[in-house]
Amino acid sequence: MARSFSPQNPDEYLQTLKRVSVAILSYNRCSELEETLTQLYKKGDLWCEVIVGDNASTDGSRAMVREQFPQVKVLNTGGNHGIVGSNLAYTSAVGDWVLSLDDDSHPVIESLAPVCRAIENGCVAAAIALSVRKKWIPAEKSESEVVKPAFGFSSAGVLFNRKAIREIGAYDPELFLFTNELHWTARALSKGWEVAACDHSVVIHRSAPANRSSWRHAHFYCRNTLLFLLRYAPKRLLPKLLTGFLRDIWLFTLLHGSGVYLKALAEARKLQKAKPWQEPRLSIEQFHAIKPDLRAPFSYLG
């Protein structure tokens, strides 16, 4: 029978959070991490555990966590290995679900009741995308509380089903940064899992300006999007998709006067050559449902 929380106890859903581990990717944004942890504990110790996957920050992030939040587990990757920090935190989590956050994002705890209800009702999705926003206005109740099918998410605010992490694995570490969610979604869908979303449950992404370089965005987005096409695009669509993407690589190389896209192309080929791909491809329907934005890599430079 579907579980609903008692209207007499509006905070009942908070008990579900004891089944949720929180995994935070952190790199040199100490004050942002502090804000995220403060927000997570503002209603008390609600979570199964909180884990910080730290990419060897040098700004005192780990010391800050040890001093101010001794209950938080910090895992050091030993270097800046991008999403490996997330992977470490996801795979060491013990909760049934893992709430993934960036060091500059935090959940609006008051908005989590619908996803908690979905968890209590035995949701079998691989991941539930939360609504990642700049701010949240409590008076607004217009968003649907329904947890519905979706085809993508952001690591800054998503609940992973730990069973799915065990079966599918975490992010592909060679991606380093960006589009890792796209690749993971493709892996999940092609292995028969579903991804869900709940617009009502909100994560605030404060989008700290530190560590956001346009060059890195352009490089990793371009390289990883090409890898996505090579690895997951349906065979029938591949000639057309690759033609368009390679055309854009040349087009934006000329328009932006930068070699970054050609370098990304060379790296993607190298990675693909080094690791023959055995995973199943997406069906045409799944690919269209995901609808990857193949122009996104070219919107960071100019």
Binding site: V132, R133, K134, W136, L230, R247, W250, L255, K273, S299
Partner: protein, 152 residues
């Protein structure tokens, strides 16, 4: 009488769009501000108090592929771009070609507002489209090579 809205096309991140909203608010303080954005980002913008109207744009894997058709006539249309001259935004300009407005503006890096004539904008689109057509041949050759190399 109701003032005509100023339409901003969201072609940049939500963070950068905020700067463009500030610029438009200062330039047209009495006009409502409207934003056209891809449907998947509407949620993020729905809480933004400076936006009076939101329009969803159908996008495909190539970004702005479907022409944006709106019955309204706007005071101005603003194209925020992440570079100096709007290079690489030809598909956006092309998708907005049937919109009607008194004037068109480009906001370079979301830091200024510069009038741009409809003819110049069209010319930009055509040049980019021409380049695209030529480079499609190179793309097709590259695609065939990749497919063969990796036995895809």
């Amino acid at each position: 009488m109701n003032k005509k809205a100023v339409l901003i096309i969201r072609t940049v991140s939500v963070e950068k769009l905020s700067k463009a909203l500030d610029l438009a608010g200062e330039r047209w303080p009495d006009h409502p501000l409207a934003v056209a954005s891809s449907i998947n980002r509407l949620n993020e913008l729905s809480d933004e108090p400076r936006i009076d109207h939101l329009y969803g744009i159908e996008t495909g894997t190539g970004g702005f592929e479907v022409p944006l058709v709106l019955d309204e006539t706007f005071e101005a249309i603003v194209f925020p771009v992440g570079n100096a001259h709007g290079s690489g935004y030809g598909n956006v300009f092309w998708a907005c070609r049937s919109l009607s407005a008194k004037s068109l503006y480009i906001s370079s890096y979301c830091q200024d507002l510069r009038v741009i004539g409809a003819f110049r904008l069209k010319l930009k689109c055509l040049i980019e489209k021409f380049l695209e057509d030529i480079l499609t041949v190179i793309g097709a050759i590259g695609a065939r090579r990749l497919i063969r190399q990796f036995d895809l």
